[in-house]
Subunit: 176 residues, 2 copies
């Protein structure tokens, strides 16, 4: 089953974390890979997700940070190489049949930014055993991904602190 969380609203990654916790609570095994995000940007979930131990939960922040914005100076090819490597790790994880749930956080963004090609993502999905569920998150999900998905939720931002004309910095424990 392919589950997609997309849209510009808050709650896609947090829902993926919740999905991982729910699956772990049922005794399932989870592979959780984050595209774009990297170890230099710690999030509240990191420590807890890493504490489950690798047999239950594999958690990899495999990105290289923001792409082309906010002072990013890394060559695009390096961002792409990191995304390709992470997708290959996810595909290997799928092939082992060790995991019940594969979460590819921000993969929709990686695809939209052309860090991955549609063909590469399709090849990954083709490699996933039928017994394994897959979650894709990130705004701007591609139409072919939506067409292939079983569950699609669009998270729409109805209201954000910034829109109240009070720009606020991202809040620790809430947004990361």
């Amino acid at each position: 089953m392919l589950i997609v969380a997309t849209g510009n609203g808050k709650g896609k990654t947090t829902a993926a974390i919740g999905q991982a916790i729910r699956a772990l609570g049922h005794g399932k095994r989870v592979f959780f890979a984050q595209f774009i995000k990297c170890d230099g940007y710690p999030s509240g979930e990191d420590g807890i997700l890493r504490n489950f131990g690798d047999d239950r939960l594999t958690f990899i922040k495999g990105g290289k940070g923001f792409v082309g914005i906010l002072g990013d100076k890394l060559p695009f090819a390096e961002h792409r190489a990191a995304a390709k490597k992470l997708l290959a790790q996810a595909e290997e994880a799928a092939r082992t049949e060790h995991y019940d749930l594969l979460i590819l956080d921000e993969i929709n963004v990686a695809l939209a930014l052309k860090l991955l090609t549609s063909a590469e993502v399709t090849a990954f999905l083709d490699a996933v055993p039928a017994t394994c569920d897959v979650v894709f998150t990130g705004r701007g999900a591609a139409q072919d991904i939506i067409a292939r998905a079983d569950f699609v939720t669009e998270c729409t931002e109805v209201k954000h602190p910034f829109h109240n004309k009070i720009p606020v910095a991202a809040k620790k424990g809430i947004e990361y």
Copy 2:
């Protein structure tokens, strides 16, 4: 800060679980109350959330199950009494100033079903210290809640397995 997750799509409760994990990871303390939901309907997250210990995370399933549907025979007054009791517990938790995050899962539904009144919920929100964040989840959030909120995300169901004309039972580890 009041954060609301509403809409008919999947991901509201799972995002709340993720939010709790994120906050716990930052060393914060979380009060997590579920309306409607009750212990007779175990979810994957229950065991893990309960394992954090009451000092870090208080987790209460304070509902009495589905209201008026799916064979519910409980008098409405008992559903309402349970919701009022849970809201009172949340208000007490807010007043202790022990918690950094109060999550009231499915409170939007409790309000829509008239298990709680708008005045009761407003009184709760008025009792929350400014240092404490609040998350409300559930479809059909009331307009006055949305007006008061800082963050609002609407999760819209774009695609669901049932809509593919293949009715599927709720899947363990995915939907509960």
